[in-house]
Subunit: 144 residues, 4 copies
Amino acid sequence: MTPQQIAETVGKLVAERDMAGRRLGVQLVSVTPGGCVLRMTVQPDMVNSGGTCHGGVMFTLADSAFGYACNSFNRVAVAQQCDITYLKPVAVGTVLTATAELRETAGRSSVYDMTVRDEAGNTVALFRGLSREIGGEIIPGLGG
Amino acid sequence: MTPQQIAETVGKLVAERDMAGRRLGVQLVSVTPGGCVLRMTVQPDMVNSGGTCHGGVMFTLADSAFGYACNSFNRVAVAQQCDITYLKPVAVGTVLTATAELRETAGRSSVYDMTVRDEAGNTVALFRGLSREIGGEIIPGLGG
Amino acid sequence: MTPQQIAETVGKLVAERDMAGRRLGVQLVSVTPGGCVLRMTVQPDMVNSGGTCHGGVMFTLADSAFGYACNSFNRVAVAQQCDITYLKPVAVGTVLTATAELRETAGRSSVYDMTVRDEAGNTVALFRGLSREIGGEIIPGLGG
Amino acid sequence: MTPQQIAETVGKLVAERDMAGRRLGVQLVSVTPGGCVLRMTVQPDMVNSGGTCHGGVMFTLADSAFGYACNSFNRVAVAQQCDITYLKPVAVGTVLTATAELRETAGRSSVYDMTVRDEAGNTVALFRGLSREIGGEIIPGLGG
């Protein structure tokens, strides 16, 4: 299997198992080794008390993207630390896209950058995550 | 109205309007000026692909606590930047408690520390949030 | 004056006034609107107790880059929050390069990404900073 | 040796070897298992281009405190990720105190909170650091 095939095979499994992402209607658009694109529409029950998209919902979308990306090599990795900066309030009905990119790897630790954008292409949140490989494969025997 | 009464009155309104928190079954245990305690049980549809509580769910719980705390003075505040560190995977069925505390205020900016614990009192995640007051009252005329 | 000329004119002034950067031997390689490149050699008196480059020294280099970049428009901006991830220990004698890039602007707030690399081009630290414009010009009347 | 004696013995060694801290005139006031207090006076050559204490200098002070605290058990630990929030500009001549406290430990990872205050007791910066034990003792055979 090529790295791309591994990423897609693991991605399908993650998509099935990521119940919190599914609950929010998160859809996997594409996945590559170390990266992915997800999409989600902000629903009326996803708002905070101010009536705009809850920070936790944007975080969950970006964190799901982080999950696809850091598991795309078929090596089990967990999130250690994440930070998010909010740039723009997001209204109900907005279609959000989250893009994940591997920035750097050092031993078992890696840094991924996630960007959340609205339909107009405006960045609404920036998310950076630190992952750590803890040993083992997501799909044993698949390679990676 | 005393600051405590203001915090409770605003807290009730936030509890009604925080749809993303309600969707997760987040319950307001108590609120004080600058602080609060929330509770939530991890459900089977809140897991990540590894089968433990999704980081976005823990973040949303802590972020809701941040929301109650930073709005408890009846002055409209928004989150600018948040970071979370995960310390322990959390199983389905766990009752999580999130505690919010105001650490420091400087002009319109404040730093809040949120701590997420399981029933045994073990800390499972630490969350720090930077808020900014943007002017206006949550409940106009209430004071604060 | 073009934006590039403004960035260079302000850059010269910042280079003179950034005493903490000068103390570490930080040199301005280039500056553009929203970005810059700095260089510094790790000296024997810049180490931590483990004998490698002190995290605070790498931070100061990256933070100086942040300072050049977020002031390059001749509008006074201050750092609000910064985070750094260390990827590799750095030995005495290493020539470090810090690159600053503007990622996003939202109102008076902006996010900049700084990357610190060694001579071999390996990334040794990633730094993200949130700035806020507080009004006023660095060089009054210059434009920007 | 008691944990307190171990912390003090390692602290003395760290104080000798932390050249970047010494260069800034950082002084160790006290050290305990998992914590410490440091002190430093802001000198004219520690400013940024705005004439106030450089963010990198405040970071270095807090990061040195992090170093004492996370090595106080005589187990070699390194910083993985740190974030700092600035609350107040600091003038030349100010005596800064940095306090480090262990917040949580999970396996080999720990979170420490550092607080930087001026003489009046005002918090000027909050710093959170994630450390990781990498095996080995600072002073072999000392215990811990």
